[in-house]
């Protein structure tokens, strides 16, 4: 109750030489967090262990991040966990398949459970949800956009697709597949998504048919 009558003088004096501060310390913590994620996974990652591993104190963590979720988000960012090798095969189909394969491989790594865990905690506040999207989810959207842009340049895809919902259908379905059915994701699933769903939606047809302005509606009864 009372803070402490006599604070039990720290058992021993251990002050090291140059104490780490600022960026040096921060990157040591992020490194420790990444190592923990790789070793024990997201659900078992604790602030305690990260602090221990980084040879610092919990207080140093809480000074920077409000909780483990935010720490992990930053660790992912710092670790380049969501970096993508932008494919450039010459056709939209092969680019997209290469992209999905990379994403699928990510899901198979510790990053998979991280993604699940973080999404679970976005319930808390929209602020954090946004953070997760920006720091963890970016690879997909950005890469998709680049791939599509090149397809537009090649004439494979109409420009207006770029900003439409159709653009991200492939990665959206892959993510959904992962979250529902887990990993590993069958390669057939990837080609199925691409060939049966994605390409028909985005590829230009001689009739220019697949384009649609937002909210477009094939059925007349929508009027």
């Amino acid at each position: 109750m009372s803070p402490n009558v006599e604070p039990a003088t720290p058992a021993f004096d251990h002050r090291k030489g140059p104490r780490r501060r600022g960026e040096e310390l921060e990157s040591a913590i992020l490194r420790a967090a990444l190592d923990e994620l790789a070793e024990v996974g997201y659900p078992a990652l604790t602030m305690e262990r990260v602090a221990l591993r980084a040879r610092t104190s919990k207080a140093a963590l809480y000074r920077r991040w409000p909780g483990r979720a935010e720490l992990v988000v930053d660790a992912c960012k710092a670790g380049g966990v969501s970096e993508i090798d932008l494919p450039d095969t010459g056709t939209l189909r092969d680019d997209t398949i290469a992209l999905l394969r990379q994403l699928s491989a990510k899901m198979d790594s510790p990053f998979g459970s991280i993604l699940r865990g973080l999404l679970a905690e976005t319930t808390r506040d929209p602020e954090f949800a946004k953070l997760v999207r920006e720091r963890v989810q970016t690879p997909g959207p950005t890469a998709v956009h680049s791939v599509l842009e090149r397809a537009v340049e090649r004439g494979e895809v109409e420009p207006h697709i770029l900003g439409s919902r159709r653009a991200t259908v492939a990665t959206d379905l892959l993510r959904n597949q992962f979250l529902l059915y887990g990993n590993p994701i069958d390669d057939a699933t990837i080609t199925d998504i691409v060939d049966d769903v994605y390409l028909p939606l985005v590829l230009r047809t001689e009739r220019g048919a697949s384009g649609s302005d937002s909210g477009g509606n094939t059925e007349p009864d929508a009027s």
Copy 2:
């Protein structure tokens, strides 16, 4: 924060009263779990509180379920959390929109955070992942199938769509939208999913363009 859990029945000591067993006890537990979910949400639900609320012991819970995730799955099932009013408007478009709106409403309820939480815990074992899909995710797929079947009967949709990946694209995208962007889901998003993505994929066209062989999608409208 403080565990001020008011037990459902104010003061009754089942140690020395008519002791509940079997189904009676089980449903009391599930009821308590549902109440907890509604009140504090999934992340804050603990076995301890559920046991207290159900006026039973943790042992009774662990005898039946290996952990809170499994308990919650059963509670959802028992509570009809994932039941759907099958819409029947006469057109696929309206049926689908009605369906997505219902699902979207669910996501806005405690069920939303439950879904997130459960998906996060499917990392553990595929067995449990399957359970979640079957008990928690069923409403969507089943309803989608029924709606599509009726559309097939009406001639709006080709039969082979029924078993294809295209069939569930609408619900898949909705789920993805929820998991990434949270609730509430804008109604415009729903119509966008339906009109810009889903219908072009599943509706029959005179040219049969939307058939699921690779690459084929032609838009009839917009011509």
Copy 3:
């Protein structure tokens, strides 16, 4: 914030055979507390270390005692820390000196710092102060009383002294000496207290000079 999404399953399973409970556990804890007191002293005693030493959990301690002060009080009681060998030399003087020497020896042991520490914490509430008096301070008063009673029987002391403030002056002064000047207490101090202060106050004199009925005052000028 949220308790825990996945409680990081305890690293390892370690459940022992027969788990200690009730009195067995309690005495193990008290024993551990006593050992700690002897080794590191009261100010450095922590609940954490006691729990560790007793091979139990902090929760088990907090279930029984609200804080370390109360735990230590009980440990003292259990360890017979304040037990006294009742002296019986045949004269009040020698009995009293023997008694003070014993008390002085106690103060020289870990018990000394315990007494200081506990007295410091009696600020909190009178309840606890009472506890300290009863469990930790009892030896003095009780022994004093016995010693005095025998002196009364021998005719050395008038009976009315027994309940008066004079009865405890010797131990009161010794305690005061310890608290102000610390230990060890010089043997000359003890004989000084006894011969110069205590005996003149309690021994019967033919003239009845030092005797007094309640509130009595030998000096007329006090009026």
Copy 4:
């Protein structure tokens, strides 16, 4: 509990203003310490809060005092916490009672818990114990001595009492009473101490009965 410490001077950043040094800073710290003592009491006083309140840094505190105990000792001294209005009523009895009443009143103030706390920490080293006696305990002894000297001049007390143990019995018993039984101290207790114990020990009698030179013993002991 929450460290809601309002700094004395509302908002002034001494980093970039006229920076306090030496005595000015020191007295600001002591003032802050006294305020803290009055507000939260000794056990809850922390270096952190004092530094915050004084709008300075912990380092400035530790440069001057090795720990909070020493700081508090100085603060007491500076705050005149142990100053006494020397009574002069004309009789030893009334002087002594007035004195004890003042001391008792002190014990009822924050000074009470300070005394307890400091005494608890004298375990550490005799040096500090001496400091406490000199800075915090002085009022009693000094005043007692003055009062007694006047009584000697009036002929109420024999001169040799002045240096004997008997001289301080009244304050010693009062202190003991406070430490064991807490405050407030009943007025009857004070008169009891004075009339039943103290005066019989120090007042001169025509018979010289209660008087004694050091080590003296009115009883032909062990006879």
